[in-house]
Every structure is written in C-alpha cells, then in structure tokens.
C-alpha cells in the first residue's frame, strides 16, 4: 500500500505516509501535508522547484523536508502537487517538486501549518524492504 492517511491528535494533526521506498514515502508525506493546506485537485503542476535538505539523521531529514516545503510555501506561495525525491547520501535529500503558486481566486487555503514536530516521529523500513512508513505530527 502506498499513499498517506491523516492521524488523529487532540490539538494537532498527524500524517502517516507509506511507500515502496523511503523516497516514495517522503513524496507521499509532502502530498499529505499540502492536502491540509489546499484541496489537492485544485493544484496544477505547471511549475517546478528544486528543494535540498541536509540533516544529521533520518528523523531530522523528515522534519527538515516538511519544514523546507512549508517555508517555500509561506514565502513564495508554492503549492506542491507532486514531487520526485532522491536521497543521494545519508543525511541529504534532493527533490524536484511540481505545482503552482497560490492564487486566492482558485485556491482556498484551509489552515496554517506552523511546523513539523519530532513528537511521535516514526520512520520504519530497511533498505530492500517492500514498505516504508513515516509518521509525523504537525502543529496546526
């Protein structure tokens, strides 16, 4: 199974993303986060952005990835529709993200996401595993 689901949390909201590889799970995680901001069907993949993240371990890389996308969104209005993630070496993530800039006449922003947290952060899977799973709690 690949994709994402939303997780119940009393005050905030969690995302669980799964994929056949860690890269794929990271891509679903990003899509899950943007689904909270704007209805995904209203986002067109008309422009691209390159995103790079460095971190000292896998968990920090996951948090850093989401926080980098949030920063990009809040500063430029970039809404992610889809992305391709590669992990060229441990602690480094490179992604090509496709989407478009926020247009208030077409996109209804549903919430503000303040940040991705380390609380109950889980990354499971091993090289060669058939399924990878990431769980992140966001402060909304």
């Amino acid at each position: 199974m690949t994709g994402f689901t939303l997780l119940e949390h009393t005050a905030d909201i969690g995302i669980v993303a799964t994929g056949a590889s860690l890269e794929e799970a990271l891509a679903w995680l990003a899509k899950g986060m943007f689904s909270l901001l704007v209805e995904p069907s209203t986002i067109a993949a008309t422009s691209a952005r390159q995103v790079s993240v460095e971190a000292r371990n896998r968990e920090s890389l996951v948090v850093g990835w989401l926080n980098e996308l949030l920063y990009l969104y809040e500063v430029t209005g970039f809404l992610l529709k889809e992305c391709r993630v590669v992990l060229p070496e441990p602690g480094r993530l490179e992604a090509v993200c496709r989407g478009e800039l926020l247009d208030p006449s077409r996109h209804q922003v549903q919430t503000v996401i303040k940040g991705a947290t380390y609380h109950h952060l889980e990354v499971s899977g091993n090289p060669g595993a058939a399924e990878w799973r990431i769980q992140v709690i966001l402060d909304v």
């Binding site: 009393t10 948090v63 208030p104 922003v109 503000v112 609380h119 909304v140």
Partner: protein, 485 residues
Amino acid sequence: MAWREVLKKLEGNRWELPQSYKAGMRVPGMVFADEALLEVIAEDQALEQVANVAFLPGIVGYSLAMPDIHWGYGFPIGGVAATAVDQGGVVSPGGVGFDINCGVRLLRTDLTEAEVRPRLKELVATLFSQVPTGLGGGGRLSLSPQEIDQVLRQGAGWAVKHGFGVPEDLEVTEEGGCIAGADPAAVGERPKTRGGPQLGTVGSGNHFLEVQVVDQVLYPEAAQAMGLSQVGQVAVIIHCGSRGLGHQVCTDFLKLIEAASDRYGFHLPDRQLAAVPVNSPEGQSYMGAMQAAANFAWANRQCLAHWTRLAFEQVFGRSWTELGMRQVYDVSHNLARLEEHVVNGQSMTLCVHRKGATRAFPAGRTEVPLQYRHIGQPVLIPGDMGRYSFLAVAGDKALERSFGSTCHGAGRAESRTKAKKLLRGRDLKKELEEQGIIVMAHGWASLAEEAPLAYKDVADVMRVADEAGLSRPVARLRPMGVIKG
C-alpha cells in the same frame, strides 16, 4: 493506562504524579483537575507528557499541568515547567512551541448589547474586512528589513510609535509589550522573510477575534478596576501570536537544539523536548530570538487592536475613545521567561516555561501594572465560540503552587478530524446564528475544527483553577460575533 492507580489525590483539586512513575523523572508531576476533568485528560497522552517534562535538567518543584491540559507535542498544552537557571537549568523550545507568545488581548467598551445587537452583522463584516486573517495573502503592512528589526526590538511600542494605539495600551500589556533581551540578529533571515509580511494578521487554527458581552459579574471589585463591571457591557477579545516569524524561529532552533541537546548529554524521552542550558551559547541565542519573536507577537496584537477600534469607529460613527475602548490587558500563554521565585525558602531565578498556560501573579508583585496591583494580574481565559469566556484574576495560591500560572482556555476535548466528522452535513454558521452569534470564517472546515463540541466547558476549567487557588473568576463573557482565519 489506569492513571487513577498512579496519581495521588491531594486537597484542592490536585493530583500528584510520583517521581517513581518513570525512571529519569527529576521531580514529580502535579495535575490540577477535578474527577470529571481528569477523566477527559486521561483519555489521551497528556499525562505521559507531564512525566516526560519532568526529565528536563534543572527542573524544580513539579512538572505542572493546568486544568485545561491536553495532548500537545513534547510539552502538553497547559504545561508549566520551571528550571533553576544558576543550577544548569535548561530552556526547551518545545516548552514554548511554534507560536511564540501566542496570547490574548481584551478591549472593553462602553457599548451595551442593546446598542450593538442591531448593528452586529455589519460590525462583524467590518471587522472581517479591516482585520486581516492573512490566509492566502499578507497583511496590510509592508516593512523593510530594518523596520522588522525595530519591531523585534521594540514590540508593541513600535506599533504605538507608528500610530497603532496609545501608550496607555502598553501599561496594560505584559512586559509593557516589549520583553528585555530581544536579539534580532539571533532570529536570522528566514523567520523575518517568512513572518515579516504577516505582521498585523490573525492567522488560523484556534486564533480569532470575538465581540463579547458580559453576562455575569463574579468579583465586582476586580471587575470595577478592569472597567467591565456591568452586565450587558460589550468587549472584544483577540487571540493570536507571532505568526510565521515565531513558527520559523521555533523550526530553526529546534534543529539546532535537537543536535545540541545530545552534545550536552541530555537523555529526554521525546526529541521535541530537546533542551540546552539557559546559560549556554545556544540557550542565550534561543532566548534572544524567542524574546524578539515575543515582541513581534505583541506588535501584532497591538496592530490588530488598533484596526478593531477603527472598525468600531466606522460602524458606530464615534471615536474609539468616545466608545470607551480601553485595553483591559494583554497576556501571553506561550513563553519562557526569567522570573524570581522562592523555592524551598530560597529566592532564585527560574526559567518558567508556560506552554498554553497564563502567568498569574498575585496582588503586590511589581510585574503587575499599578492600576491592578491591589487586585492581582488580570487573566484572560477564552472558551469556545458557542459558550463563554472568563475574565479572571490571579489566585492567592498561584505563586506557591504553580510559579504564578493558571489555565489559558477551555482545552480541546476532540481532535480536529473528529470534530469535522461529528459535524459533517451540519450548517454550523447557521446554528450559531440561531443562538445569536454571528460568525465569519474562511471556510466550513476551519469553523468545524473549532466548533464548541471540540472543547471542554471552560466553566469547569475555571472552577477548578479557582478552587485550586490559581485564578479567580471576575466576569463571564458570552460571544456575540466571531471572526476566524
């Protein structure tokens, strides 16, 4: 988890979580709740978080939980922890949260419900257009990088200097609207780029602006001092924080401190609790950045209060001073502050983290503005948009029991997703309108997530805080109009 078997009941709605509950706790936990509230609290993981906070190096007294405690990330929301600065005590960005200096401001008016009711729809619509939520766009201000640095240094004073309000507002704002020690350089570029354009916006989530009416006066002497002593009197409450600037300060420092926490050899049960000694280079840098973000939040609420007054002027055709729109008070409920407290008979400097908790300093403390020093610090406790909020005052046991802290709101009872599920197909806006509450919000979802049924009854929280001596109710206010991001 059978929490009942773990917790030790004490008088005054207090429950002790023994230090022996979990190896590594440096102090016991203390939860302020009655039987009924405890039942709700025990449903999620908030009590486990109280235990986790007790691991923080240098923590003194108790890891405290206010009556509105609920599951947060790292710290519980409603959590208070004080660390002894001179004994290696730490500061934890997770104990402040992403929304640094999220807080509440209350404006009084001389208007009565009878005067406002016929114009309510127009008033709410005017507020909605005058006071930007900032969703899907920036605010009304455009600041240069130099000006943003001035905001970070001067806080609400910057806004007053630029015509948003009057100096008297600062006298009734915690820290005078400007906390000492702010270091704009420590904030860095990213928070300023992200949050700078958002100055003067409300945001979304549980942030709001509400027109309310006093429906009960419970402590006339204090109500008199605060200028809200008449049943039927209209007031405005504003709840928001430091927007993207604070969020990014937290994001950037979490990354830094999460790594540094390991270097200091701290073993904490949740990475979101990552901490460094207050007196360390990283700790000092975080304190300077957090204080700067706190000032940004006070400037933000100052601007919003100003536009609120202008909206009232527009609708009622009189100046805001003629309408009696003085500020009652402005409190922060997400902050770590250096304060002097007496612990085991010794006076010491503590770094008091209040994460979803309000400072409540009693009568006589020099931090309390002169006009309130005889009654104690005002405390603003908003409830949900369908019921009521409380204006309160610090209780006589707050200093000794909670480092001068009390609750900050009703506390969530249901998750956002659950609230939406429960309300599917219902026209919440119309239901509230039938109760006489006019709401304007950005979409159904943001409204449903904050629906009354998602929250505990703030009256229960208020009563427990009162019985525990943390804060005493002064007046109850009922919502009339709400704007939300």
